[in-house]
Every structure is written in C-alpha cells, then in structure tokens.
C-alpha cells in the first residue's frame, strides 16, 4: 500500500508540457528525493500532489484520497520553498493558528518550536526572523499532527550545515513512524546519504526513479582510479598500467565497473612501485547529469 501514487500525470501550461506522463509512488516510511533543474517540473508536481493546481490527465492518490480533498489535506504536510508567514505574528502565535486548523491542541506550539530549535525566539515576531529561522517555523508546522505524507520543497535552503543535519535527523524520525517523504533539493550530496530513492525530472519527464546503487549500475559510468606512484616511478607505473601521468607521482586510470577488480589486481602486482590507490566512484552529480540529459523526444 503506497502513501502517494501518481500514474501518467500530465500537465500543460499554455501549450508547454510541464509534466509528461509522470508515474511515481512513495511508500510509508520511504524518503524520496526529487531532483531536477529549475523548470524541470518539480514544483508543478508538488503543487499537483497538494491539490493547489489540477493535473490535465492522470491519476493521483494520497492514502486513497484525491489531491486537494479534505482527507488528503488532513494527511499531508507541506513545506514550501522560501516559506513565508505574516511578519506581525510571533512564531508561537502562527503555530497555534496552524495547530487549530489541523484540529490539534494549540498548547503544542512551544513544544514544536523547541523541537526545531526555536524555543526562545518563538515569542518574537516573525518579521524579525532570519531566513533560517523562518525555515524552522516552516518545518515545525510540517510536523503538526503526525502527517502521513510530507511534501518538502527545497527544505534545507537557508539552513547552515549543523541545522541541515538536525533537519535530516528529524526526517529520519518521521520516516521511522511511517511517514512518506517527498523532498526536492539542489544539494545532491546531502540527498545522497539521507534518502532511500532518487527520482529525476528533466523537462517534465521522469527520467530516473530508483535507489542510488541501482542508478549507479544502470548509468554504468566509468570509475576513476588514482594511483600514487613512488616519486621516481611515475613514468614506469603509467607505462605498465597504460594510464595517464598527471603530475610527479599521480597516475589516473579510467575503467568500467566490471573491470575495477582486475585493474586493482594489476596495480597490486606493481608492488612497491605504488604507494597508494584511491577508487573514485561516479559522483551523484555525474549520475544526475547522465540521467537528466536523457529526455525522450
């Protein structure tokens, strides 16, 4: 049973296809990262899931409800990109209002703000907050009432590295209690370690939807081996491995995934000529560039 299901969702704005037959599912407890360039359709997809704009074609289910219905909205929490609040209200007042809108106890506001690290500042007006503090208020409101689905648009923009780590720790807690999480991000490296699955949108097409391990395998991008030779042996190492000498001691090799062990064996045979070796797998940026370049015509 999936928490969120999209099948063949299509959306066109004035003749321009924003989404073309996108199918995607997020299961309870699953964290899915939605990647894509600006204008790839991430925000459009999120707005359709939230029921803010209708899809032209296709079906969307949020825990068996249609997007925008009362049941779907009650089950879904949203953190918009650059979340904004009325500057005249304090963080506590704003959260109390959101709690009441969800039928929860307004007295939980302080506890929620503590949870996102805004305890004391909650009594000041939001107009005095930094972008990172507003983002925390946004996160706090997304935690209200144990949502079954969280839709987070660039949730860590404006957060410092420490806050980002705290944010992902909170996300892990939510996922463990069975919440399905769909988040978009530009920060590929943080998504790498913190999500279960990666979906890549490119010009409205879903061009990848799998675990990072599988995406690596399917992309079959070459692996880089950096061999550090003994200072006087770089040329010999480069010749015997048929690699490219980079500077005084470094020799670079490029090979496919299935040749990796054989190549490492060859390096090991060189014995004391080699001081060290680094295996550099394709980065998430490489994989992302590989998939987002593949758009069906």
């Amino acid at each position: 049973m999936q928490t969120l299901t999209l099948s063949q969702v299509t959306k066109t704005f004035e003749g321009n296809a924003a989404l073309s037959s996108v199918s995607l599912a997020v299961a309870p407890g699953e964290r899915v990262a939605l990647l894509g360039h600006n204008g790839a359709g991430k925000s459009t997809l999120m707005k359709i899931v939230l029921g803010l704009i209708p899809a032209d074609r296709g079906e969307i289910h949020i825990v068996e409800a249609r997007p925008g219905s009362h049941a779907a909205r009650a089950a879904t929490a949203y953190l918009p990109e650059n979340v904004a609040f009325h500057p005249a209200l304090t963080g506590v007042e704003q959260l109390r209002c959101y709690l009441r809108l969800r039928g929860e106890d307004p007295a939980d506001a302080e506890g929620l703000l503590d949870r996102v690290g805004l305890g004391e500042a909650g009594r000041r007006r939001i107009g005095t907050y930094s972008k990172g503090m507003r983002q925390r208020v946004g996160l706090a409101q997304a935690l209200i009432g144990r949502p079954r689905l969280l839709v987070l648009d660039e949730p860590t923009s404006g957060l410092d590295p420490v806050s980002r780590r705290e944010f992902y720790a909170l996300l892990d807690e939510l996922a463990q209690t069975g919440a399905a999480i769909l988040l978009s991000s530009h920060a590929l490296t943080e998504v790498e370690a913190r999500t279960d699955r990666i979906a890549i949108l490119s010009r409205g097409h879903l061009v990848a939807d799998d675990t990072l391990t599988n995406l690596r395998r399917v992309a079959a991008l070459p692996i880089h081996l950096q061999v550090s030779a003994r200072p006087d042996a770089a040329d010999e190492v480069a010749r015997r491995l048929a690699g490219e000498r980079h500077n005084g001691t470094r020799v670079d090799l490029v090979c496919d995934h299935d040749q990796k062990l054989a190549r490492l064996g060859q390096i090991a045979e060189l014995g004391t000529l080699v001081e060290d070796v680094h295996v550099i797998p394709p980065s998430l940026e490489d994989i992302y560039a590989h998939f987002s370049g593949r758009v069906p015509s």
């Binding site: 707005k47 803010l52 009362h70 946004g138």
Partner: protein, 273 residues
C-alpha cells in the same frame, strides 16, 4: 467552526498589531466628537431630542466612513497573502476557502464593530450630557449601529472580491478607492443628475427608487433616516426617495453582505497559488 475561529484570531491579532484597530477607533471617535460639538448649537423648533439629531448627522458620516474603513482594512486580504507568499501553505491545510474568508471577515467585522461602537458611544454620551431627553434617541442609535455593521460587512465582502481579482495589493488598493468613489460619491451624483434631467418623468417614478435600493450606501441612509424623526434635518437624496418603504431598504441592506461575500468566495476560488 474552530478553523474559522483560528483564522479570525490570527487576523484580529494582525489588525491589532498593524494599529488598524487603534486607527479605526480614533478615526470614528474624532468624527463623532466633531459632530457632537457641531450639533451642540441650539436646534430651534425642531422638536427632536439631541441624540436623534446626532444620529441623523452620524448617518451621513457613517455612509462615507464605514465603507472606507472596511475597504482599507480588507483590500489586501487575498492580494497581500499572494504577495507575501503565505497563501500556498494555508491552502494545503484542511481548511476551505470560504472558511478562510469567513475567518478574516469575522476579525475585520469585529474591528469595525469596536470602532463604530466607540464612536457612537462617545456621540451618545455627549448628547446625554447636553440633553436629558436624549435617551429617546437610543433606539435610533442602536439601529444605526447594526445597520452600520451591515454596510461595513458589504464593503468587506466587496474588498475581498476585488482583492482576489486584483491579486496584487497595489492594484487592489486602486480598485478599492475606485469602488468607494463609485458607490458613495458618483452614484448619488449620477442619480441626482438623472432626476434633474428627467423633471419628474418615468425615470424619477419608476427607475429611481430601484436604483436607490440597488446601492447599499443609499439603502443604509434611507433606512436610518426614514425611521428617524429627524429626516428633515438631513435633506438630500433620501428626501427625494421618501416614497420607498423602509422594509425594502432593510431588505437591500441584508441582501448586500451575503451577495458580496458570495462574490468574494467565487473570486477567491479562481486564485491559483
């Protein structure tokens, strides 16, 4: 209902913080004081008590001021949320668009009620102080109070509607001022011109009464002055329309807030965040 109350609570707090409550109260109080002072001159053989005379003056004042305050308070209700970027988030909450508008409406109407109530109370106190018979005018004052709220409610609804149509606070402000000019100033001038040009013909007898009823501000003035003994004290358009039964004016006053709110809901539904 709890959701409407949640929105209303936040909006009222915002109105307090933005000094809207203070501005509205001070504005109404000042005008009420000025009118009371102006009306303190001997009223001659009019025979009406002081408060009834004051109510006639307050009616003329409220026709201008209450719609203006309502429009100023509410013109950015939707456009402001669009510009601040606060609208998408609240629309993903399990709260309907009519509920959001109803919450804002309740808060803004409460603000108007406080301001109008304070202003009228000051006027009543001044009248009582000058004329012991003034208590005879209390029913007229009470009627003025709740009809002022109906008039205010109408223009709150209209303000939400133009706010949703304009989607930008600047454009909404322009439309609000335009709406006020048309309904409160130009409409009556147009009617007067029509009556003068017509010279007692079909326009004056058949069309004119309906046109008076069609404007909530005219209906408000008509209902309050027709029911007051001091009609003679306030000449003008209402004097020309004294053939219209007050019940019809009241019906117009009750119809308008509902129609304006429904128009606002319809316009708000078309706003895509």
């Amino acid at each position: 209902m709890n959701r409407v109350a949640a929105i209303a609570g936040s909006e009222f707090r915002i109105a307090l913080r933005n000094r809207w409550v203070a501005i509205a109260v001070v504005m109404m109080a000042l005008f009420a004081l000025v009118l009371s002072a102006a009306g303190s001159a001997p009223t001659g053989q009019l025979g009406a008590d002081k408060l009834s005379v004051t109510v006639a003056s307050l009616t003329s004042l409220a026709v201008y001021l209450v719609p203006l305050m309502a429009l100023l308070m509410a013109f950015d209700a939707v456009a402001g949320e669009v510009e601040r970027g606060t609208l998408p988030l609240v629309l993903t909450y399990p709260v309907s668009r009519p509920e959001i508008l109803a919450g804002k409406f309740a808060a803004h109407l409460a603000t108007l009620a406080i301001a109008v109530g304070a202003g009228y109370a000051i006027a009543a106190a001044a009248a009582m102080w000058m004329d012991p018979r003034a208590s005879e005018g209390f029913p007229a004052l009470a009627r003025l109070f709740w009809t002022s709220l109906l008039l205010g409610a109408t223009f709150l609804g209209l303000a939400y509607a133009i706010s949703a149509v304009a989607r930008r606070p600047g454009a909404a402000a322009g439309l609000a001022i335009g709406l006020w000019l048309v309904f409160i100033v130009l409409y009556d001038l147009g009617l007067l011109a029509g009556v003068v040009a017509d010279g007692g013909g079909a326009f004056t007898t058949a069309v004119f009464p309906w046109l008076i009823l069609a404007n909530p501000a005219d209906a408000f003035r008509l209902y309050n002055l027709a029911a007051s003994e001091a009609t003679a004290a306030a000449a003008g358009i209402a004097g020309a329309a004294n053939t219209i039964p007050p019940a019809q004016a009241l019906a117009s006053l009750l119809f308008w807030p509902a129609a304006a709110f429904l128009a606002a809901v319809a316009a708000f539904r078309k706003v895509t965040p």
